[in-house]
């Protein structure tokens, strides 16, 4: 029973929080720019508006790609523990993580592919070169940040000797947080966080001024609404993952969300002030500093084991 509730609950939380974060992001940036900024529920209005608009479609794949992306993100949420692990032992259900026993972190990493892949397929189906360029940038960026990210994940996994996120979180709460036990990895992960979220300085995938918002060039109406939701949930997933890996999850949902908010604010500050980089520079950056840090940390972890 609790399982069913959780399965309904955690995507809902992700949806609400994610959309609010989107609004919050716009507000924060406005304030940093000395503007008043839109109401915080502006994204909801946008989504409703888009849903009401009658847009175009370039064929079945054009829409199914979006569906795939959103579905993938929703499932990903179910594999991420959203706090509430203080009573972790012995019954696994008191942690808000419906699919805790279905493969753990490795599955999460693969499920996070559904989003980009779905969008890429849809964008490809719209015969628009802007979309293709955007997709190719997205792929390259993914490769760029995955290299350090994998090192980070492996360092954490070998630090706590498990591939299950719930266990990793539990270990952190028993012992010290990841940010203390694998500090360099935490730094590296934070450095690539903007790239994973696709925000400035790494928003070159959907760069409106260069390539007409890239993969979304042909999207409008309902599909665009769903993509916005997917973006929100992806934002939620990435930050939740960061919190779970390095900030020891949360003893309950509230603390978890607070931690998420903190991380989110930090990232948004970067987003608000930095310009956009070229894809080459993005790759060079990701393969230089974050990779070096993560590599050092992993070596240390392995040797200390």
């Amino acid at each position: 029973m609790t399982g069913i509730i959780q399965i309904v609950l955690s995507p809902l939380i992700a949806f609400v929080v994610g959309v609010l974060f989107l609004g919050l992001a716009r507000k924060i940036i406005a304030r940093v720019h000395r503007r008043y900024g839109p109401p915080i529920y502006q994204p909801v209005i946008d989504v409703v508006r888009m849903m009401s608009q009658r847009s175009i479609s370039h064929g079945a794949l054009f829409e199914l790609g979006v569906v795939l992306a959103l579905a993938g993100s929703l499932v990903t949420v179910m594999l991420i523990p959203l706090g509430g692990t203080e009573a972790f032992q012995p019954f696994a259900h008191s942690v808000l993580c419906p699919l805790s026993s279905s493969g753990g972190l490795l599955v999460v990493m693969y499920l996070m592919l559904f989003g980009p892949l779905g969008l890429a397929l849809g964008a490809g189906a719209s015969a628009n070169p802007n979309a293709s360029i955007g997709v190719s940038r997205k792929m390259l960026l993914a490769l760029a940040y995955e290299v350090p990210f994998l090192l980070v994940i492996l360092a954490v996994m070998s630090q706590y000797g498990s591939i299950s996120l719930t266990e990793i979180v539990a270990r952190q709460q028993q012992a010290s947080w990841g940010v203390l036990s694998v500090p360099l990895s935490a730094v590296a992960a934070f450095l690539i966080l903007p790239a994973m979220l696709g925000i400035r300085p790494f928003d070159l995938v959907t760069a409106p001024q260069e390539i007409a918002s890239g993969p979304l060039a042909e999207y409008g109406g309902t599909c665009l609404a769903l993509i916005t939701v997917q973006k929100a949930i992806h934002l939620f997933v990435v930050i939740a993952l960061f919190v779970d890996l390095f900030l020891g999850g949360g003893v309950n949902l509230a603390t978890f969300l607070v931690k998420m908010l903190a991380v989110f604010l930090a990232v948004e500050m970067i987003n608000a002030v930095l310009p956009r980089v070229k894809i080459e520079d993005a790759i060079k950056f990701c393969w230089k500093w974050p990779t070096a840090l993560a590599f050092v940390q992993m070596t240390i972890t392995v040797l200390s084991k």
């Binding site: 009658r54 569906v67 699919l99 493969g103 070169p129 290299v147 769903l226 992993m298």
Partner: protein
């Protein structure tokens, strides 16, 4: 069903098809399909009939040795896998090869390769193993050369490398014989147990060269890209799907059936442990070819490089010698067979419809014309990447988990990076063939014929089935591992049940399906979009230029410019350099025969002088 009957059917099928080709083409095609399907049936029927009653000595005295066949879980597993993929590609050939020349030769060679491989897996002693191995090698060589032109060069490259390999294997086998006086695989197991680790290492080296050449481990891989891209597509499927994996079978046989788990794990010391070094080779085999594949523009070359790269995962899992890893390795072997065959068949279908175009820069938008092929390609690349719900995911998950829990994160890192490189290149494959703008000249392309769609859809089904219910093949693999003395895994129908870090594909499947349904409902809520042609696309207000509005050339240009300087196939260059020098030496040796009788007489006299001098100097007699 005795293994003898299986082999007889296989070889007889090959022969009959050749003869039938002389009689009538339909008879030939019918026989080819019939015999390949019959083999699948026979092998499937012989499931579980292991034990002494299926160990048959079919030649009692071949130069004083007896040739035996036997059937055991390992043999059966590989046999069924060989037979199925071969049958699928024979069916595919029906329309792909239509109207080509020498079809009798083609089909009989396809079946002969099949028979050779079946012989390899069914043979109960190393002599017949070697014999079937060689038969497979030269029939493959003929089949690679089938398509003229550059294929000839590819064929030569292949056969020379595999000759080197088989010489090494011959030495290994016969030294086994000289040591223990038997070549029966069953007996060798006990015989070798007592021998020194140095000797075992020598055997593993000798065999490993042969298997490594077939398996295309770095640095023995260089024949593979040419051979794959030059062979006809259905055969490329067989080549990359199963034939290359005979190396895997060999490794399993030698390492675990004969030498045995304990000896392998204790071979060498510390870092220089045999299986550790082997797994590093595997890791390198993953990374470099995968990124070389990224630079390819020929669809089949790209897939061939991936064939090499994926092999690395198998080695990585297999070399580790934990039950999870080995299970992952074996499972990955058949998974790779299924999706790489699928991809080659898809490329073949596209080639067939577009008039032999394989250049990724000249295709595009074919999804509108060939939906089934597109679906096949999508499923194939999902398997190759290892997306959840596909079988590739499960096996890779096994391998990753082994590496991490065994405490080798660096190996795991290489494996992961290989995967992410794979994503890039296979998406390029999909995008450049099927997505984007449909060029004018392909407006009239028809969709793939039914005899091509059947194998494609079949493989898609298999990929999803094994992806959601991995228990089906894993049970069989469990049986194999029992014979090799591995600790049993806690398998369930939908994955692995060992507490936290367990795998449950069924949950994930349900979750994804439900999420999919929910999102579809959401979409229904919104306004329904209207369908527009591809010309109605955003082009800053101007109308879309036909045929010019497609981005596929140099798809990953920024990355190319960064990595291409580091990704030359230096091994290949080295081999070519060596071959070049060798020919120079040959030319010099030919000078010995000057053609002057005088010189020759001089040789004779000096030889006599040499003999006598030797005697005076060293008293050789």
């Amino acid at each position: 069903m005795s293994p003898q009957a299986i082999l007889i059917t296989a070889f007889a099928g090959a022969g009959l098809v050749f003869l039938a080709g002389k009689v009538h083409s339909h008879l030939r095609d019918f026989l080819a399909v019939l015999s390949s399907l019959a083999l699948v049936g026979l092998i499937a029927w012989s499931h579980g009939q292991y034990g002494p009653d299926n160990e048959i000595v079919y030649v009692p005295d071949f130069l004083g040795m007896e040739l035996a066949l036997r059937l055991n879980p390992l043999a059966w597993f590989f046999a069924i896998y060989i037979a199925i993929i071969n049958a699928a590609s024979v069916v595919f050939s029906l329309s792909y090869m239509k109207g080509k020349e020498k079809l009798g030769f083609y089909y009989s060679m396809m079946l002969l390769v099949n028979a050779g491989m079946l012989g390899i897996v069914l043979s109960g002693d190393f002599l017949s193993f070697y014999i079937f191995w060689e038969i497979m090698s030269w029939s493959t060589y003929l089949l690679i050369s089938y398509r003229r032109g550059p294929a000839l060069h590819a064929g030569m490259k292949y056969i020379i490398m595999s000759l080197v390999g088989s010489c090494a294997m011959l030495v290994g086998i016969l030294s086994l014989y000289a040591q223990f006086g038997t070549l029966q695989i069953a007996e060798l197991g006990e015989a070798i147990a007592g021998s020194s680790s140095g000797y075992v290492l020598f055997i593993l080296m000798a065999m490993g060269i042969a298997f490594g050449v077939k398996f295309a481990i770095l640095p023995l891989h260089t024949w593979m890209p040419d051979a794959h891209s030059e062979a006809v597509s259905p055969f490329s499927a067989v080549l990359s799907g199963v034939l290359v994996r005979m190396g895997m079978y060999g490794f399993l046989l030698v390492m675990y059936s004969i030498v045995g788990l304990k000896t392998i794990l204790n071979l060498g010391a510390g870092f220089f442990n045999f299986h550790y070094i082997l797994s590093w080779l595997g890791a390198i085999t993953i990374v470099i070819p995968t990124f070389i594949a990224l630079l390819q523009n020929d669809a089949k070359k790209l897939l061939a490089w991936h064939g090499i790269g994926q092999g690395g995962y198998m080695i990585l899992g297999m070399a580790f010698g934990t039950s999870l890893g080995v299970a992952g390795g074996i499972f990955h072997t058949i998974n790779h067979g299924s999706y790489i065959a699928l991809l080659f068949l898809v490329v073949g279908a596209v080639e067939y419809r577009t008039g032999g175009v394989r250049d990724l820069n000249r295709l595009g938008g074919l999804i509108q014309r060939m939906p089934v092929a597109f679906f096949g390609c999508l499923v194939g690349i999902m398997g190759l990447i290892g997306m959840p719900l596909t079988n590739g995911f499960v096996s890779k998950w096994f391998i990753y988990k082994t590496l991490i829990t065994e405490g080798h994160p660096f190996l795991a890192f290489m494996a992961f990076v290989g995967t992410w490189g794979t994503i890039l290149s296979v998406y390029k494959l999909l995008h450049n063939m099927f997505l984007g703008q449909l060029p004018e000249k392909y407006k009239e392309v028809r969709k793939a014929p039914i005899s091509m769609q059947i194998p494609i859809l079949f493989f898609c089904f298999v990929i999803f089935l094994f992806g959601v219910l991995p228990g089906i093949p894993l049970r069989a693999i469990q049986g194999i591992q029992d014979t090799m003395g591995f600790a049993p895994l806690q398998l369930t129908m939908w994955g692995l049940a060992s507490g936290a870090g367990a795998l449950n594909m069924l949950n994930i499947c349900f979750a994804i399906v439900i999420a999919f349904a929910v999102v579809l409902l959401l979409m229904r809520l919104g306004a329904k979009p209207r369908r527009v042609p591809q010309e109605d696309s955003y082009a800053a207000g101007s109308s879309v230029p036909a045929g010019k509005y497609h981005h596929s050339v140099e798809f990953y240009n920024p990355l190319y410019q960064m990595i291409s300087p580091y990704l030359k196939d230096r091994v290949d260059q080295f081999y070519y350099w060596a071959a070049d020098k060798a020919q120079g030496v040959f030319e010099l040796t030919r000078r010995i025969y000057t053609g002057y009788a005088g010189t020759y007489v001089l040789y004779i006299i000096s030889f006599l002088a040499l003999l006598i001098f030797l005697q005076l100097a060293w008293e050789i007699w």
